[in-house]
């Protein structure tokens, strides 16, 4: 299908806010923030009660009571000190001194704990040590000279509705900062580590991702000749962790395709695979090569797009579908793609459980 098409798939803002609050809560738990907050509250309450019981005749402009005492304690511990309520007895003044001295220390602990959430998050993000919490994102494992084209391709094809892109590689911090600056308008995450390892992929929130792209990796000073091994291992790791995740992998050497196929990746792109046929086409049919390049390049807007068949066109002939698509989208139908998921053992189980169903379940269990 040659047309522009966009799909609306963005993470709602309230989900992001909830995710941030959950992160903040976990961080505060680690920082013993709640213990300090509890101590502060106890001191406030203790000071208020002390003032109320030891100094019943304190000077106040309004009514005297436990609420005023509590108000005085909070105003004092927060170093505001309006002076509208003041202790007059010696005992009251001693308690006031204790609150005045402990207040700034406890409040500084609370302020520091809250500030450290933001600082630590920023530092971790910069170093790629942060765990990705978004979902429906696209993971790009590895980095090479084509990675920018891949990101640009995603930006063009999912224009305006682009989900978060998460890079998983071993680039240096300054390289990552440079990439993040290049795509500063986009939601770009970074996880530093060896993407062959499952814990690194788990940090990229692989289980909730939309798709994964495995590039022939040269990050961390690795050589391109060894890239295929890592592509195969990481594809295995991805498919074992998330079998249904759409995974596309790049290969350098065609002879490794058989090995990569065993990992059950959805699509394999071999570098330079089409170069020969392009050259041949260019020689025999001048202009044809350029036309195809335009269709697959990121610059041209007349792209190849795949859209689901509208429900009302189901069962219709191609001659009926073509005018509809031309009028509705200004698109030219090139092909109809049909995908069929391979049958699983679970699919042949009947509704009522019989001995044969039990036997099939047993086989399925043994094969896992």
């Amino acid at each position: 299908m040659e047309k522009k098409q966009s799909t609306k798939r963005t993470t709602p803002s309230f989900v992001k806010a909830f995710s941030f609050f959950r992160y903040g809560y976990q961080h505060l738990m680690k920082e013993r923030f709640f213990k300090i907050l509890t101590i502060t509250c106890i001191i406030i309450l203790y000071g208020a009660l002390a003032l109320f019981f030891t100094d019943r005749y304190y000077i106040t402009k309004g009514a005297t009571g436990i609420f005023d005492a509590l108000y005085w304690a909070i105003v004092t511990i927060a170093t505001v000190g309006y002076g509208d309520i003041v202790p007059v007895s010696k005992a009251g003044k001693i308690f006031a001194l204790m609150i005045i001295l402990s207040g700034p220390v406890l409040l500084s602990f609370i302020t520091a704990s809250v500030a450290s959430i933001f600082v630590e998050k920023k530092i971790k993000e910069g170093k790629g040590l942060e765990t990705i919490r978004s979902k429906d994102h696209i993971i790009i494992c590895g980095w090479n000279e084509n990675a920018d084209t891949v990101i640009n391709g995603l930006l063009v094809q999912l224009k305006g509705t682009l989900p978060k892109i998460v890079l998983v590689n071993e680039l240096e911090e300054e390289d990552i900062q440079s990439i993040q600056y290049r795509y500063r308008d986009q939601d770009l995450g970074f996880v530093k580590g060896n993407f062959v390892k499952e814990d690194v992929l788990a940090r990229a929130n692989l289980l909730r991702a939309r798709a994964a792209i495995v590039l022939a990796d040269v990050s961390g000073g690795r050589k391109i000749e060894k890239a295929d091994e890592r592509t195969i291992f990481s594809s295995m790791a991805i498919k074992s962790m998330a079998p249904k995740l759409r995974t596309c992998a790049e290969l350098i050497y065609p002879e490794n395709k058989e090995h990569l196929l065993r990992t059950k990746v959805d699509e394999i792109v071999i570098r330079g695979e089409t170069t020969g046929s392009f050259l041949a086409t260019a020689a025999i049919s001048p202009g044809m090569g350029d036309s195809i390049k335009l269709l697959v390049s990121n610059q041209d807007e007349n792209k190849l797009w795949r859209i689901p068949v509208p429900a009302k066109l189901a069962g219709k002939t191609i001659s009926e579908v073509v005018p509809y698509l031309r009028n509705k989208f200004g698109a030219l139908l090139l092909a109809v793609v049909k995908e069929q998921e391979s049958m699983k053992l679970e699919d042949i189980l009947s509704d009522d459980s019989t001995f044969i169903d039990e036997f099939i379940r047993l086989i399925a269990h043994c094969l896992r």
Partner: protein
């Protein structure tokens, strides 16, 4: 068989019921064979 010969109307009904029962079991058996052979082919392809 004597009953069927003696009362042909009743005999037809009995034989009809028996044949329906046997046919149902044969159909179920056929489906089970198909399911088991499919399961075997899936298991062997893995």
């Amino acid at each position: 068989m004597k009953l069927i010969e003696a009362n042909s109307e009743l005999g037809v009904k009995i034989l009809l019921n028996l044949s329906e029962l046997l046919l149902g079991r044969l159909k179920q058996c056929n489906q089970d064979v198909i399911r088991l052979t499919t399961a075997l082919s899936i298991a062997l392809s893995k």
